[in-house]
Symmetry: C2
Subunit: 647 residues, 2 copies
């Protein structure tokens, strides 16, 4: 009860420590807390952190900012869980030292002060291991020697003494703030990944033929050349035959229609089976292996729902809801019914077996080599299930990614990230104006979200042809692409539809594709390359070469004098890699204007001299002014991606 | 593990439930939380609260606002501690009911739906006591009767059925949010009190004579007439004779100088003793009694510090810090020393006995009849001590007030309020402009502070002659007075200095009084009444007559077209008492302008017709417009205090 320091308002701290925050190796954790004591005594505070594999805590002395806020930071280097906590204490040695300096300057008699100092050093020594304790005791003896008072005063005034006071604090009655705060340090790919989504059935080089894993394998060189490192395939399982959906989501498929791959399961198998037309498990494993050789991961679509003929329904009727007339409860959004999909009833009495079975599905695919799971509609399954399942799987497979495909309300999306999803789909898809994007990026990177919600920006998905892209021309596609790929270090596209600029909306007026690939097999000319193919390839290789583009947290919006031009800089902590993007939001007209050099951000104190090289065109400019002219013709490139050099 | 609802971001919640929030009987507690479930099932949530004397929780169904925020409110009526918590659940009955309405409207066959409804009602019945359960079962039977399907459908569509669904929710797998959240409901005076501070030694009617409790008693009719209900006396203990301070804080008092009453203790006694010149304990008890008869409380000054000759120092040397040369450690702010004051060392090994002794001091004065403690410099004693001491005292004496005299950094002031102080001094003393005051009141009433920090506004104290009042004229005093008394339901003044408009600053340039009463005895002409006396008397009686002025939380700033005019309305929850203040910030010139009628706040939908009566002048105006003319001559009154009547 003698501790006198208060520690509160600790950040980061998600739901009082209930959830961990997220980092990858090499990232830093910046912490802050309100810390203060009673009275006027000097206080100090430390951040303590340790990797779960270590017993010893590493101590970082915190710095006092303003208004009783204290800050510190630490770098995480090892994968796994780190723990962190805080201590604060009244530091009588520091308090005495500071008073000593003031009294000495005021010309007061210092003899008793020296004796007090000797006592405090002696007391301080008791808390330190032998070597340090000896040094402190020797210093105490010097101060205590009344015959050498003047010498002792000089000793206290020396820089070395200050160093002792700072490095060997006198801790008594510490206040400990320990709320089980944790940082999960995961796979590097959680923060930097580049996704291309393709329906495997649409990969055949022969029109009219159902694509196979072998066809996907043949696509790998193209995917690699374009600079993607995640190839995401929609569900690869047998597709339900009962109530199968036809072209354009029609209620009943015609003979021969392939159905939606998200209607999982039939007499050919369920969530651990492979659609026979795609090939064998061996083919799939070989695809994974060949992809890995090129640095590409095959992302798996985890969609925990069932077609009416999924084997689970017969094997585990207790996992589903049944109506009084003996029929199964389909998914519905009254008055609409989705008769090709049966949701799992997570409220079942048999929930334990259900959870174990679903976990076994994930582990099964991990065993086949899958490391990335794009999780379909995670917000329609309980948060606690995901919290448990992801933690369980990542015990055995720490280098896995779970991407939350939840396009829903903000707090629900955030909650899924809190319980463990490593990446999340975002509202980028619908954020179109400069102001919307600046606000959204600020929310993602400058609020609490930054610590647990890792955005993955998608301009389109098989479900979403955004209004911005409906009937849009190449300039609009190029702009949306450049924004996704440079604003966020994780981005993805529903590949061929985006690259080949599909822009025909569904006739129902919704943000959907006409003749959606969800309900039919397509044929693409994979030899085809267009302006977008070139841009994607270029930008993906710039992303790989520039660490500044491999994080989302390092973005800084800067000023322009033209509302149509958005300007942002991303840079590494050491400022060695600096990328400056200027994007033209007007897809119809050339726009020009001036952009301001953010001197404070770049650490420039004197005159400006930047060498900026547009990595899209290789043009180089020398900027000597604080405001510099740029001009962007959307018919050529949607913006500048400058590498910035300066000294 | 089958609960599917998340409850987070609960407000009010101070430091995760570590500290209680505060109310007086009759006030409401408005709560909110982010609450959501997975999927599309309907969810519901309840607030549960109970007084500590009750075992049963009272349930309030929460309302959904926007963005997954849910709200509710409850009124506290009994003093003591209330507990509150939250539950949320997926409500299958409500979900089915909502779907039923939609399907029925879409003309679907409802027979199976009726059967499902019957099942759900049957299940719901299991959770309710007999009477309700019977009703639910009867309803279930109606729905289940296939021969009367059309009748059953009509039954479900009836308003009575909606009522059943809403009032008897179907709870399963509830999520409980219980963080020991508490509301302390205290004495009404915690929220509404009017303080007058006077040095008892300055109350004699004869110049040159040391005042006594008897003299203070003689002042009571004046204090009552002026409308004060707390008479606060600085420390009444023997004053240290060693190192006593003289006139204007000079280091050594001359023979006969009385010293500062905050230098407590001498050979005449310590914290349980009374200064012999003030009278006896009996006199003090009689003063309390006589004051109480007039509705006035005598506030006691609790200053836990000692003069060098305080008995504690001999009796408990272990409670103080001693220097190596055998001298005691005085208070200091290096290089300055305050040799008339010795701080208590709360880090003493003997802290338990120290705490008990200090608690016994408070209880001793409670036993003599004291109920209000103005605590001197609480921020120089440990927070944990106050948390314990206040709780201990309020166990035996729940109707007590501890006012925190901490003029220090914002988070320290807030922390003292969190640990239990019932009222707090504020920065009002230095908030002078209209914008400063609007911002400050917004911070006090619209942020988390509202729930635990009760402001007490003081325009001056014996320590502080604010710059605004230095050499100021009556208009400035009147303005500062009116602001304190109408912005905050708790306010006080260092009485005679304010009322008689002392305005001469100390020669050191600081915000201090010249010839401070802290170091000398004064004589006042208590028969004297001036313009300020009249204003204070008038306003205090208006405050007593108008509940709208008896709360600080009900303030609403409204628009004016003249920056010099600040306009604010305070009103009771039932809008029956509405007070509208307009204050002229220009103390030199008449100012006029228009003020807007806040129709939404007042609940006015059609045309405006307000009858406003200035309670200072008794002038009445009829306002028929949204903007209305006001004119204030600071030489007469600093502002309007309108009673607003409308229908």
């Amino acid at each position: 009860m003698r501790n006198r320091v208060v520690i509160e308002n600790v950040r980061p701290e998600v739901n009082g420590g209930a959830f961990f925050i997220k980092r990858i190796p090499g990232e830093t954790v910046a912490v802050s807390a309100d810390i203060f004591g009673d009275g006027h005594d000097h206080i100090r505070a430390s951040l303590l952190f340790r990797h779960e594999s270590q017993k010893r805590w590493t101590e970082v002395f915190m710095q006092e900012a303003v208004n009783d806020e204290w800050t510190a930071r630490f770098r995480v280097t090892e994968k796994g869980m780190y723990h962190y906590k805080f201590v604060g204490w009244v530091d009588h040695l520091l308090h005495w030292y500071d008073g000593f300096l003031k009294k000495q300057e005021a010309g007061q008699d210092m003899s008793v002060e020296l004796q007090i100092g000797a006592q405090l050093l002696q007391q301080t020594a008791e808390n330190y291991p032998k070597a340090k304790a000896e040094d402190l005791k020797a210093l105490a003896a010097t101060l205590a020697d009344a015959s050498k008072a003047e010498e002792a005063v000089q000793q206290v005034l020396s820089p070395g003494f200050k160093q002792v006071v700072e490095s060997t604090p006198m801790k008594q009655f510490e206040t400990v703030y320990d709320q089980s705060l944790r940082v999960r340090v995961g796979w590097e790919k959680e923060l930097f990944s580049t996704w291309y989504e393709v329906f495997p059935r649409s990969t055949s080089q022969q029109p009219g033929k159902h694509g196979t894993f072998k066809d996907v394998e043949a696509l790998l060189p193209r995917v690699e050349e374009m600079g993607f490192d995640v190839l995401y395939l929609p569900p690869i399982h047998p597709i339900g035959k009962v109530n199968r959906k036809g072209k354009n989501n029609s209620t009943n498929a015609q003979e021969g229609e392939p159905g939606s791959p998200w209607a999982i399961g039939s007499d050919e198998g369920g969530h651990k089976a492979i659609h026979p037309k795609l090939g064998t498990l061996e083919d799939y494993k070989q695809l994974i292996e060949k992809a890995n050789e090129r640095g590409i991961d095959i992302a798996f679509d985890l969609a925990f729902q069932c077609a009416p003929d999924h084997p689970y329904i017969k094997e585990h009727p207790e996992w589903f809801l049944w109506r009084p007339d003996g029929t199964i409860a389909y998914a519905e959004n009254p008055p609409k019914k989705y008769q090709d999909i049966v949701p799992i009833n997570f409220e079942t009495e048999d929930w334990k077996n259900l959870w174990d079975e679903l976990k076994s599905v994930i582990l099964y695919w991990c065993e086949q080599g899958v490391r990335i799971f794009r999780v379909d509609n995670p917000h329609t399954k309980p948060f606690r299930f995901w919290e448990w399942a992801i933690a369980e799987v990542q015990k055995d497979y720490p280098d896995t990614i779970f991407l939350s495909e939840a396009f829903t309300r903000p707090k629900v999306m955030a909650a899924l990230a809190k319980v463990g999803f490593n990446q999340s789909y975002t509202y980028f898809t619908w954020r179109n104006t400069r102001r919307e994007l600046e606000e959204y990026l600020t929310e993602l990177t400058q609020t609490e979200l930054r610590d647990y919600f890792r955005p993955n920006f998608w301009p389109n998905t098989p479900d979403i042809l955004a209004y911005e892209l409906m009937n849009a021309g190449p300039n609009a596609f190029a702009k949306r692409y450049l924004l996704a790929a440079t604003l966020s270090s994780n981005y993805g596209m529903y590949g061929p539809a985006f690259e080949f600029m599909e822009n025909t909306p569904n006739t129902n007026g919704k943000e959907e594709y006409f003749n959606s690939e969800k309900y039919e097999t397509r044929h693409y000319d994979w030899e085809h390359r267009n302006r977008l193919t070139e841009l994607i390839t270029k930008v993906n290789h710039i992303r790989k070469a520039h660490p500044a583009l491999q994080s989302t947290w390092n973005i800084h919006f800067t000023r322009t004098d033209n509302e149509q031009l958005m300007s942002y800089i991303k840079l590494t902590e050491d400022k060695k890699d600096v990328i400056w993007c200027v994007v033209n939001f007007d897809v119809h007209h050339r726009q020009s204007g001036f952009v301001e050099v953010p001197k404070a951000l770049l650490g420039i104190e004197g005159n400006v001299h930047l060498k900026v090289t547009d990595l899209l065109t290789d043009d180089t400019y020398h900027w000597f002014n604080e405001w510099n002219y740029v001009e962007i013709n959307p018919a050529i490139f949607p913006g500048h991606v400058f590498r910035v050099e300066y000294s």
